[in-house]
Amino acid sequence: MTIYFDNIYLGKNSVVAGPYINNGPLKGHFDAIYNDFYDGENTFEDCEIKEAIKCINILINKYKDINIDIFLSTDLINQLVISNFVANNIKIPYMGVYNACATFVEEIILGSSLLNNKNINNVLCLTSAHNLTAERQYRNPIEYGGPKPEYATFTVSAATSFILTKEREDIKVESCTIGKVYDYGIKDSFDMGSAMASSAVLTLIKHLEDTKRDPNYYDLILTGDLGKYGKEIFKTMFYKEKGIELNNYNDSGVLVYDMNDKEVLAGGSGPSCLPSYYFSKIYNMMKDKKIKKVLLLATGALLNTTSVNQKKSIPSICHAVSLEAL
């Protein structure tokens, strides 16, 4: 399913980055940082809520005067509880959305579609993630040191927010492809790269077919959080399916961290991985007209702890959005 948009633009954004990512290659590109997982709060969850609210306030202060009609938000914690508390704080009409780590692009698609309504002019979107709230949610207690395989990924702690608007800005939301859910039988919950790479390939192929484009149409094709090994699986599968080597492709999971750090394992993941890399690096390159056309492929692993314990395989999804600098 591919949709084209007219007159929908990516407005201003803000990124509040937490430990690990704020010391990596993107250091100095963030609006604000925090250096410890509590940041003065009593629990990790409170810390995540605080950073998300801070992120939105920074964004709103970048505008002299803005009237936000709808707030779309996502996070990784049960029943979107972080987003719910943020929404309770900011009091803007709110919808919580969830497609795991693919939600960033899901928000762009939903927000852009809402903007087609004549009464809606500005949509605020938030993605929030905190490494330790996610660890608690999906894995073992934080102080438990059971070894993880090298192909496991490390959730990016960051809150990112941005505005989608009808007012003309430098970057346009050109088109999007809504992905289907695929399942290639991967059961290891540490191996999300393998679980998601297949969806990324199949959504990319669908997008290229629907738009009748060649991969080289884009200056950059960027996947969300496949990590070091998922990236290779993606390239190999795409080559086997289409017979084309991608030379304009990268994965933000391996770009957000200093990959020499053994603790980050195969790289970044989580709903804030792709937006924090996109907004602190690629967005500015597009504004400076260094690159013009970018395809974002946000990938999500659709599991929870119950499904993993019940030995079900991990289905995955990928949504694509094409952004163009004007």
Binding site: N140, G145, E150
Partner: protein, 145 residues
């Protein structure tokens, strides 16, 4: 692309989780723990008023105390990540998983937090420890009379 073909791609690309170095480290550290335990038993039983059985209980309590304390000081998880089964299989692993669960759920209260979750990871050890003790005891009665 079918599932089999996809799995053969992932298998080729993913690194092996079990390496000789990791196996050797776990084996070596596990053995070292055994040696330490024996030394502790020898030490405790060198006191006249402590019997051999009491000495081995004291050794276990010492191991539990040290690993629990190091877990609280955020040191033990790094050691476990490095030495794997060498520290998880001995009683230090039991203590580590219990303490880490207690710390994790502290903020959710004494009853719904710590009380319900402290044996979240180590409950397996307790349950199957008791069951295997029963089985072994029954076998002993049947064979040994």
């Amino acid at each position: 692309m079918n599932i089999e073909e996809y799995k053969s791609i992932t298998k080729k690309i993913l690194p092996k989780t079990m390496t000789f170095k990791k196996l050797f480290l776990s084996f070596f550290v596990g053995g070292l723990m055994g040696v330490l335990a024996q030394l502790l038993i020898e030490f405790y039983s060198s006191f006249e008023e402590i019997s051999m059985t009491e000495a081995s209980s004291l050794m276990m309590v010492t191991f539990i105390l040290i690993s629990s304390l190091l877990t609280g000081l955020c040191v033990f998880d790094k050691l476990v990540t490095k030495f794997g089964a060498g520290l998880i299989v001995p009683i230090t692993g039991f203590s580590h998983s219990t303490t880490s669960s207690a710390l994790e759920y502290k903020k959710e209260g004494l009853v719904n937090g710590i009380g319900s979750n402290i044996f979240k990871l180590s409950g397996t050890v307790i349950l199957y420890g008791i069951i295997s003790a029963y089985v072994v005891a029954i076998i002993k009665i049947i064979i040994g009379g």
